[in-house]
């Protein structure tokens, strides 16, 4: 299966879709700071992998897929939900990359430059996620 860009999806999204994700992302990042102050870094760290915008993203995919099918004369409800399920399967592979990201930061941040470690950990997230996705597709 080929990976590519689908720029038409930008036109299907409304500014409110982006605003919701901006607000959710901002709120959970700010909340993580407050949780760290109140309960310490041990509890706050859990929320660095909190699926904050996942429900909003899945709902958006369901809505877009449903609209596409409706324009073609079909109901699209079932197809929309299945599309959200496919997106969630991808997110599960991305979560494997998150584990690699967290392990690298945990082991190496105390001894190396923050910018370097966060960059390497970010690239490790991408590499592990893509590899997991590719393996899942192949089997």
């Amino acid at each position: 299966m080929r990976i590519g860009l689908e720029l038409s999806s930008i036109h299907r999204s409304r500014w409110t879709d982006y605003a919701i994700r901006f607000i959710f992302g901002g709120v959970i990042t700010a909340l993580t700071g407050l949780i760290a102050k109140r309960y310490g870094p041990g509890v706050a760290g859990l929320f660095l992998a909190f699926p904050a915008i996942f429900p909003a993203g899945a709902t958006l995919i369901e809505k877009h897929e449903k609209e596409k099918k409706r324009q073609a004369g079909f109901d699209g409800t079932s197809r929309g939900r299945a599309a959200a399920g496919v997106d969630a399967a991808g997110a599960a592979m991305g979560a494997l990359g998150l584990i690699a990201f967290a392990m690298l930061v945990w082991r190496f941040l105390s001894h190396h430059s923050t910018a370097v470690i966060l960059t390497i950990a970010g690239l490790a997230w991408l590499a592990v996620s893509v590899l997991a996705w590719w393996i899942r597709k192949a089997i």
């Binding site: 760290g45 992998a49 997106d87 991808g90 967290a102």
Partner: protein
């Protein structure tokens, strides 16, 4: 207060940027990877190093491993339920959030605490 606003703006921007990348990619399963991007972690850890210390940020990252495992379990179950039972996405993702909380705090109690 100023720190909270900075966290809000950086977190919102990073989360939106990764979400945008996910929006324009296909197939959907590949785009889904960006639903689990380390956007909140990148925003938080950088700021934590500046305001606290590297050791403090490393402790957060250690707990993040448990949160990430919980994310994997959560997303896998959400995917299965949506594809098998075709339930509404919003209700499914929000209800199953309990799985994330249960797994994350369960692992934290067993492994980290």
């Amino acid at each position: 207060m100023k720190e909270l606003i900075v966290r809000f703006l950086i977190g919102g921007t990073l989360v939106s940027a990764f979400a945008f990348v996910g929006d324009v990619l296909h197939p959907k399963s590949f785009a889904g990877l960006f639903g689990a991007a380390p956007s909140i972690a990148l925003a938080t850890l950088g700021l934590t190093v500046i305001t606290q210390s590297m050791g403090y940020a490393a402790t957060e990252a250690r707990s993040m491993i448990a949160g990430s495992i919980a994310f994997f379990v959560y997303a896998s179950i959400v995917s299965h339920v949506l594809m098998r039972y075709r339930t509404p996405a919003l209700a499914t993702t929000l209800t199953l959030m309990l799985v994330w909380f249960g797994t994350a705090f369960g692992l934290w109690f067993v492994w980290i605490l």
